[in-house]
Symmetry: D2
Subunit: 142 residues, 4 copies
């Protein structure tokens, strides 16, 4: 199995079991080890008391892209922490795209950047996540 | 109206319109300006592909406590950004408590710390949020 | 005065008065509004008790590139906060380059990314800074 | 050797070799495992082009308190990253105190909070650091 196929298998295995992401209709693609995209449409029930998307849902989308990016090398990997900058509000119906890229991986830890943009291509949020690998395999390779 | 009553009015006005928080059955209490608590029970549909609570939902709970804390002074205030450290996984059925306290407020900006604990009192996550005030009133005072 | 000349004037005005940066022999170039580079050689007196460069000096170099980048639009601008990830140790004699780029600017606030690399081109640290503008001019334009 | 004596031995061993901290006349005390204080007086050569203390020196003081706190358990431990919020400027002659406390330690990683205050007791900056332990001993115990 090559690197790209393995990344795809990791994505499929996680997505199958990922109740949180599936219940929000988040679409996830892994384009290779360390790279993933996630897409979500802002629903009315995601709006907060100021009538814009709750920051928690933007974080969730970014965190999802990050999780699939850092698990794509077939090591069960968790988020150790993350920071997010909210640049623009998102509104009901907005289509938000999160693109995650690996900035560094060494030993058990990694750093990933995620950029969130809306349907007009404007930046909505910047996210930086830190991962910690258990080194357990995510899928079995024959 | 005293400070405590005003904080309560701000909470009620936001909560009434807060579809995101209500749809997740997050309970919110504001104990005064700059202080709020939020409670959430982890549901099966909040679990990710590793069978633990998606970090996005923990962030959401922390962000909610933060939002109610920083809006309790009757200025419409948004999250500019936040950072979270994930210390322990949360599982289905866990009852998570988020306590937000103001660490600093000056000019239009503020810094708030939120600690998340589970039903056993163990720390689940640490969150630090940064707020930006529009200075528009949230509720009308007579 | 065009944008590039103005950015250069801002850099010169700040650098002239910048005791901290000059005392550490940090070289600073501003290539335009929102972009700056800073260079520093790690001295023996910058090493900590583990015999590697104190993280504070790496932060200082990153923060310097950030400061010159966000002041290059002729508004006196301060750092509101920053986060840094330390990826590789730096040693005595290492030549560290910090490149700052603007990721967002809106209203009084901005977000800047800085990457630190060593003389071999390997990443040493990643920094993300948040700025707050006073809107006062830094230099006078005729 | 009890925990407190061991913490003291770790501090002495690091401080002896800590050129960065000694050259800035930073005083460091370790009050036990996971707790340290660092003190620094702002010198004229620490001022930046806006005539206030360069944020890098405030970070350095916070990072120092953090480093001594997380090395006090006799495991060689490095900073993996940190975030700082700048709340108030510091000026020449200000006496800044940094107090570091452990918020969490588990496996190889830890989270530490540092608060910086000036001689009037006002908060100057808030810092949160993340540590990574090599598990090598820092000092030999007989």
């Amino acid at each position: 199995m090559d690197e790209g196929e393995l990344a795809q298998r990791c994505r499929d295995t996680m997505y199958e079991a990922d109740a949180a992401v599936r219940s929000l209709d988040i679409a996830v693609e892994v384009s290779g080890p360390g790279r993933a995209e996630a897409r979500m449409v802002i629903r009315p029930e995601m709006l907060n008391g100021h009538d814009v998307c709750h920051g928690g849902y933007l974080f969730m989308l970014a965190d999802t892209a990050f999780a699939y990016a850092c698990n794509a090398c077939n090591e069960v990997t968790f988020a150790a922490g993350a920071a997010i900058e909210f640049l623009r509000p998102a509104k009901a119906g907005d289509r938000i795209l999160a693109i995650a890229t690996e900035r560094h991986r060494g030993g058990r830890t990694g750093t990933y950047d995620v950029t969130l943009t809306n349907q007009e291509g404007a930046d909505v949020a910047l996210f930086r996540g830190r991962s910690y690998s258990t080194r357990a395999p995510l899928v079995w390779q024959k």
